[in-house]
């Protein structure tokens, strides 16, 4: 059962592996260049496990001690995760002891592949979610430790490899676009965030986008697909 779930989970994590290798190495290198010991890199990746926040955390660790500000920043940067939890409430039912782990691991990448995954017939969904999450977590930790240790020796003349993750999100989006009933919701997410980004600017747009998304999803009538 476990092997079958692992075989189904592993291939869909490969794009995450590629993206995490690049971003994680960049993170570890940044920590190293900031003069921090590798223990801090390890703790940040293994305990915090939230890419964008960890990058923001580098400057927090370099400034005066202010845990409340750190806590507030974590909530603001990761507020979008609330949507991920609400999305997975029913799908994560009955995961047993794996549930807390899978929720803990729910960064953008693990969420997006889990939310978009069509779990093959006969594959145990609990183990499937467990393995996608575990693999993403291991990739990130492996990459950030590698970056801390040997990042300096990796040529950085090629830029833009982090586009892998953008490409992944976009392809997951395209796959859902083929399901006609999902299109209005995809568009709601896309345009609410786009408009919010244009109007509210770079640092505050997510909260605005989320309010807009909730409002629009609320009023859109059913698409002829009933789940009752």
């Amino acid at each position: 059962m476990k092997l079958k779930a692992f075989k189904a989970a592993f291939p869909i994590t490969l794009p995450v592996l590629t993206g995490y290798l690049f971003l994680g190495i960049a993170f570890g290198l940044l920590m190293h260049q900031s003069g921090f010991p590798i223990l801090w890199t390890f703790l940040s990746s293994s305990v915090v496990f939230a890419g964008a926040l960890q990058f923001a955390g580098v400057s927090i660790l370099a400034s005066a001690f202010n845990p409340l500000a750190a806590f507030t920043l974590a909530i603001l940067v990761n507020i979008r995760h609330l949507f991920y939890g609400l999305s997975m409430l029913t799908r994560f039912k009955g995961l047993g002891f794996k549930k807390n782990f899978v929720i803990y691991m729910m960064a953008d990448e693990a969420f997006s592949i889990n939310a978009a995954a069509k779990i093959p017939e006969g594959v145990d969904s609990a183990w499937f979610y467990f393995f996608t999450s575990l693999l993403c977590y291991l990739y990130w930790n492996l990459a950030s430790l590698t970056g801390h240790l040997v990042g300096e020796f990796i040529p950085s003349s090629i830029v833009g490899l982090d586009f892998v993750l953008t490409a992944l999100f976009y392809i997951l989006f395209l796959n859902q676009w083929n399901v006609k009933a999902h299109r209005p919701y995809l568009l709601v997410g896309l345009f609410s965030t786009l408009i919010s980004r244009l109007v509210l600017g770079r640092s505050n747009f997510l909260l605005g986008a989320m309010v807009l998304i909730i409002g629009l999803l609320w009023i859109i009538p059913d698409q002829g697909v009933h789940h009752e």
Binding site: F49, F83, Y104, V159, V164, A167, I214
Partner: protein, 109 residues
């Protein structure tokens, strides 16, 4: 910062992150029925979240200065074409990323 202060700071970052990931599950535990309006949200949010993530991943693209968002736009078009042709995720990603790398490292350097 002292080592202890660093651990507390990392703990604060982790705690804030954990809250954003766990709160929905604490509010709606498995043994309680999920309100109907929320079921509806839960059916729709995964797809809206994917739309949100696409824009979120592109939030730092500069549209008003060089290279005017062209590498991103052209790469996304490439992905769309490859993907509607073969429907192979890894192939589409490889094609899109290769296009992007050539555009930002060679064409728009």
């Amino acid at each position: 910062m002292s080592n202890l202060q660093v651990f507390i700071t990392l703990g604060a970052l982790a705690l804030g992150t954990l809250l954003t990931r766990f709160i929905p599950f604490w509010f709606f535990p498995e043994h309680k029925p999920i309100p109907k309006i929320l079921m509806r949200m839960g059916d729709r949010l995964p797809y809206a979240s994917l739309g949100m993530l696409v824009v979120y991943a592109l939030k730092d693209v500069k549209v008003l200065e060089s290279s005017y968002g062209l590498p991103e736009l052209l790469s996304l078009i490439t992905i769309t074409l490859i993907h509607s042709w073969k429907k192979d995720t890894l192939l589409s990603i490889t094609g899109g990323v290769f296009t992007y790398l050539v555009l930002v490292n060679v064409v728009f350097k």
